[in-house]
């Protein structure tokens, strides 16, 4: 199959009126939740998930994906205007975006962000189109050994590379895998960890966990975060958005570097847009001849990370679609959505559902163009929306959460499960245990167990088979390296602290 005919096939799916409509809804909702600090793409996708059960899976995926990358566009708006990241991955944008806004350059910053995001996404979509089929082809030869090793690497990377204590990330991911055990054992049909509850025989509902951890708990913590309620934001006019000639010159190279960094990091399972934005920022500062400008409103300081986080979002679809292994928690939700529709992502996905795969990829182009067109003129509207007081928003969001959780399986039990995980999420936030690895572990857990058991059955209980096969050996070596790296980081931090304490005592 050549790229051109795939291109045409995808386009014919993506430009049907329904596809365009759902793409439009997705990117608009995505931008909306991205702009509002406190409701991330995660909450929005889990909210939309139950509704997608009623529509064609292709359109469902197009819409959910649109929410995801749309939120990336919107996330930077709050970063620039209020110094509050709309989504975690746009936190880096605060560093130079907010100083630009303070200097009266908010419009330029928003414009540059939209352009950089578009460049990053476009670059990564090309990468997806070229590489996803190649990886899927290679993965056709994968057996349980390879799958187990890749998943293990993804889980370890997702838990140890995020910010904060790697041990806490690890705890979160293992708890997630453990929660995935609840329900009926696929191999033996035995009920496990159901505590005699019939409602748990199919396992814990993904929507309920996601809405609890990322919806209910975020609402409670946002209510506490006072002071963010009525931001003092100026007007952003269309004219104020146009960059000067010097500023134009600062876009292409940082955007190109950011796109490359974002795509490279986004492909790896386990590391999402947040890390890539951060890396792109560091790289840009390093190659800059005037690094002292960073943090004080350097245009490159928003261009590179914005290109990178959008590129990472798009590139993240490569492992999800070609291997069936989601790179982060949001991708895990997308994977969950596909499984609910009876579609198993993986190497066969592209050959079995070519119109769905290529339609989705082509919709990325359409969505990104829509976003560019929507964002530049509508920035003024988004700015106004930031002024909606939270006491009006949160009861409304809660209603959507409750109805959404209920409607996924018409189950009141799931509503209580969501509440329970809302409390769990709050407790985890309070002690700084990240919640995203938990969800990733939950989705991948059953697959991990299945491949582990099958591997051990095939090898008759010999562990060294994993090291005898080159692909699984490579991934396990990377996994070990990640663990060593995390351990080394903890040791170094502990030593630094001791030295600081000694210095303070002296």
């Amino acid at each position: 199959m050549d790229l051109l005919s795939n291109f045409a096939l995808g386009l014919s799916t993506a430009i049907t009126p329904e596809a365009l409509l759902f793409c439009f809804i997705g990117v608009t909702v995505g931008t909306f939740v991205g702009v509002l600090p406190g409701i991330g793409a995660m909450a929005a996708i889990s909210l939309a998930l139950p509704m997608t059960f009623h529509i064609d899976p292709t359109y469902a995926l197009i819409m959910l994906a649109g929410i995801f990358y749309g939120a990336q566009y919107g996330g930077s708006t709050a970063s620039i205007l209020m110094n509050l990241p709309g989504s975690i991955s746009s936190a880096v944008t605060c560093l130079d975006g907010y100083p630009m806004a303070q200097k009266g350059k908010a419009g330029v910053a928003l414009f540059v962000t939209a352009i950089a995001s578009f460049i990053g996404s476009s670059f990564a979509i090309i990468i997806v189109m070229c590489f996803a089929p190649v990886i899927a082809e290679a993965a056709l030869g994968f057996s349980s050994y390879e799958y187990f090793a890749v998943m293990l690497m993804g889980l370890i990377a997702a838990s140890t590379l995020s910010t904060g204590s790697p041990l806490k990330g690890l705890a979160s991911v293992v708890i997630g895998v453990t929660l995935g055990i609840v329900g009926t054992d696929v191999t033996t049909g035995q009920y496990r960890f159901t505590f005699g509850l019939n409602d748990l025989s199919d396992g814990i509902n993904l929507v309920a966990i996601a809405m609890g951890l990322f919806g209910i708990s975020e609402i409670v913590s946002n209510i506490l975060r006072k002071g963010s309620e009525r931001p003092n934001i100026g007007k952003v006019t269309l004219r104020s958005m146009f960059p000067s000639r010097e500023e134009w010159k600062l876009i292409p190279k940082p955007a190109a570097r950011g796109s490359i960094v974002g795509s490279a990091i986004g492909i790896l399972p386990g590391v999402g847009p947040t890390l890539s934005a951060f890396m792109a920022y560091l790289l840009e500062k390093k190659v800059s001849r005037t690094p002292e400008r960073f943090g004080h409103g350097a245009v490159e300081g928003i261009t590179a990370p914005e290109a990178a986080n959008n590129a990472a979002v798009q590139a993240g679809f490569i492992p999800t679609l070609s291997l069936g292994i989601p790179g982060d928690a949001i991708m895990a939700l997308m994977l969950g959505a596909m499984l609910i529709h009876g579609i198993v992502p993986g190497p066969l996905f592209m050959t079995e559902y070519p119109e769905m795969f290529w339609g989705l990829v082509m919709s990325f182009w359409i969505g990104n163009i829509l976003l560019l067109v929507l964002n530049i003129p509508l920035n003024g509207l988004w700015v106004k929306m930031l002024a909606i007081p939270y006491h009006i928003l949160y009861p409304a969001i809660l209603v959507f959460i409750c109805i959404g959780v209920y409607s996924a399986q018409n189950s009141v039990f799931d509503v209580y499960v969501a509440l329970f995980f809302g409390l769990v999420g709050l407790a985890m936030n309070a002690v700084r245990i990240p919640t995203a690895p938990l969800l990733l572990g939950f989705v991948l857990g059953p697959l991990l167990e299945e491949h582990f058991r099958r591997s051990m059955l095939l090898s008759r209980g010999a562990f060294d088979v994993f090291m005898q096969r080159p692909v699984s050996a490579t991934f396990l070596v990377i996994t070990a390296a990640l663990l060593l790296y995390a351990g080394f980081g903890m040791w170094r931090n502990a030593r630094r602290r001791r030295q600081a304490q000694a210095a303070a005592a002296a």
Binding site: L167, I223, Y416, V431, L457
Partner: protein, 148 residues
């Protein structure tokens, strides 16, 4: 001597250990089998053990780490939002979507002072209407607006 600031991290670490031990204990109640023929208990036992190990490492980290700022536990929002969600669950099938929605909005509005009776009632009315239109009429959920 463990300072008060370390207490939340320590409690979290101990909870992880406890969870791990519980998973091992419950997991051993299922057929464990052998490595080459795993029963439904094998994988849970491994995971529980792993979890307990990570928990022990977390205890070590909590004791050795510097002070971490204690985060206040938000009692009022937790309580009001919790009650709101619980009453939604209790009412939605027995009394219908509208009463459940109204109860949820009224209770959760109390999470954040001050009281805003007018805007709360408006939100309750708008969300009820939207819920009925979207979920009962458009998506055809098997629910009634009023009554079970």
């Amino acid at each position: 001597m463990v300072s008060r600031q370390k207490l939340p991290d320590l409690i979290a670490a101990l909870s992880v250990v406890a969870l791990g031990v519980a998973v091992v204990v419950i997991g051993r109640g299922y057929p464990v089998g052998t490595l080459s023929r795993m029963g439904s208990g094998y994988f849970p036992v491994i995971l529980g053990g792993l979890l307990a190990l990570v928990g022990v490492a977390l205890i070590w980290e909590a004791i050795r780490a510097g002070e971490s700022a204690l985060q206040r536990i938000p009692l009022r929002p937790v309580l009001m939002i919790g009650l709101g969600v619980l009453s939604f669950g209790a009412l939605v099938e027995r009394a219908g979507l509208v009463p459940a929605t109204v109860a949820l909005v009224l209770l959760s509005s109390l999470a954040e002072p001050p009281l805003r009776p007018v805007s709360t009632l408006v939100i309750a009315a708008v969300m009820s209407a939207l819920g009925v239109a979207l979920f009962i009429h458009a998506l055809a959920l098997p629910l009634n607006a009023f009554g079970g």
